[in-house]
């Protein structure tokens, strides 16, 4: 049963940050509540105050030059149905369409998903491959955190307790760039997720820039620079030959944890399989 708590209703990000600073560990940001309220009902966390940020207007999707600005309070449902996003970031739309179930997508927010940093969450992995930036505000100060640096560990991020995630900036992939996120898992929680964003050159004869990220298998999503280096700048044929090795590197980088969803070795294998498929799919989009 949910214990009593006080709902704070700040009217600005500044006020929300002040409340978080003043009440410290006894207060928590309340966005969609899909993870937080469940944890509170179970008695796993206990907060005297929830700082409701739903009225702060952080639910806009805007395009500014080559970057999509996504408000932290955009729900998964909003993202899966946004026409502008469908044109600019179809891979993100596809990912959002497959997050949990429609009830979760209707209430859960992208910002909340990132901040809760549940290991079996999809968006972080793709945002790393897309080179997204997380915008964190505290009073008048604002900082940008690269998505690949945002996740520290399971349920832990770079955000300070009195900082608020306000926006996610996602660069629109350039021409001849393909993006794919593939996941594998039972029920609604993925146990392995792999994202690739790659640019093809010379009419798909070679691989230009490439970003690879793995998530869900380990404590937090990670970029796999070693696997990228193996494929970047190579002829497509050579890159395809190197995919098994890249898959091994990505499997290890995932820091896969043995659990009911599979053993460490099994998850590492699946990372390799998904990486190969994601590469081929991303290449076909270029």
């Amino acid at each position: 049963m949910l214990k009593r708590f006080r709902l704070e209703e700040p009217e600005s990000t500044n006020e929300a940050c002040e409340l978080l600073a003043r009440f410290g560990e006894s207060a928590k940001v309340y966005a969609g509540g899909t993870e937080l309220l469940l944890a509170m009902k179970e008695g796993l966390v206990d907060y005297e105050r929830l700082v409701n940020i739903k009225k702060l207007g952080l639910n806009q999707i805007k395009r500014d030059n080559g970057t999509i600005h996504i408000g932290a309070l955009c729900t998964h449902r909003q993202l899966e149905t946004a026409p502008d996003l469908q044109r600019a970031l179809p891979a993100l739309v596809k990912l959002e369409r497959n997050v949990a179930n429609v009830r979760v997508r209707q209430a859960g927010t992208l910002g909340g998903n990132l901040c809760f940093a549940e290991p079996h969450a999809d968006p972080g992995t793709l945002l790393i491959a897309l080179g997204a930036k997380i915008i964190a505000e505290k009073g008048a100060s604002k900082r940008e955190i690269a998505a690949e640096d945002f996740f520290v560990d399971a349920y832990e991020t770079q955000l300070a307790a009195d900082e608020l995630l306000t926006e996610i900036h996602v660069p629109v992939p350039p021409a001849h760039c393909g993006v794919e996120y593939l996941k594998f898992g039972y029920l609604e929680r993925p146990s392995v997720g792999v994202a690739i964003a790659l640019t093809a050159r010379d009419g798909k004869k070679s691989v230009g820039d490439i970003k690879i990220a793995v998530g869900c298998a380990g404590p937090a999503p990670k970029r796999v620079a070693e696997a990228e280096a193996l494929l970047r700048g190579k002829s497509t044929e050579e890159a395809i030959r190197s995919l098994p090795r890249a898959g091994e590197l990505a499997g290890r980088a995932a820091q896969a944890i043995s659990d009911l969803h599979g053993s460490q070795e099994y998850k590492e294998h699946i990372v390799g399989v998904l990486l190969k498929r994601a590469f081929q799919s991303a290449l076909s989009q270029c």
Binding site: A39, E42, G43, L44, D46, A154, S258, D259, L260
Partner: protein
């Protein structure tokens, strides 16, 4: 969940053995362990284990019972505690083994850890990883304290 940590310590076995029985110093090496008390010297102790994974905090008031000892060689102990706030229970079976000669001691911790209750919602893998981190930090802290003393 089974864990094993082995560490080589540049200190004679007797010094390591005495350190283990100096409860305050030994327990201070265990991250998140506080309020260590001796209930019956050499047999029963109590302490509180506090740990955190992201926003999830657990606090297990724990009773530690020494089941078997073999001087300078082995200690077998069992610890059990309950966090009533999140209805979770912790049980640890610990085997501490000392080998080596002269100025070198090989210290081995073999721990069987069971956690049941709502905490399990975090997932077996996450809990196992945290427990492994705690044991690794503990082992390294014991080594540093003992080698630092010499």
């Amino acid at each position: 969940m089974q864990f094993q940590k082995d560490v080589e310590i540049r200190a004679p076995r007797e010094k390591v053995w005495n350190f283990i029985w100096d409860v305050d110093r030994f327990i201070s090496c265990l991250p998140g362990c506080k309020d260590a008390k001796t209930i019956e010297a050499g047999k029963r102790y109590s302490a509180t284990m506090v740990e955190k994974v992201g926003p999830f905090k657990v606090e297990f008031p724990t009773t530690i019972e020494v089941l078997e000892t073999e001087k300078l060689t082995r200690i077998k102990a069992q610890a059990a505690g309950t966090d009533n706030k999140i209805s979770s229970r912790l049980k640890v079976e610990l085997d501490v083994n000392l080998t080596g000669e002269g100025e070198t001691t090989f210290l081995s911790f073999v721990a069987g850890v069971d956690i049941v209750g709502k905490l399990a919602v975090l997932g077996h893998g996450i809990i196992k990883r945290k427990a492994d981190q705690v044991l690794e930090e503990f082992t390294q802290a014991v080594k540093q304290r003992l080698e630092g003393d010499s």
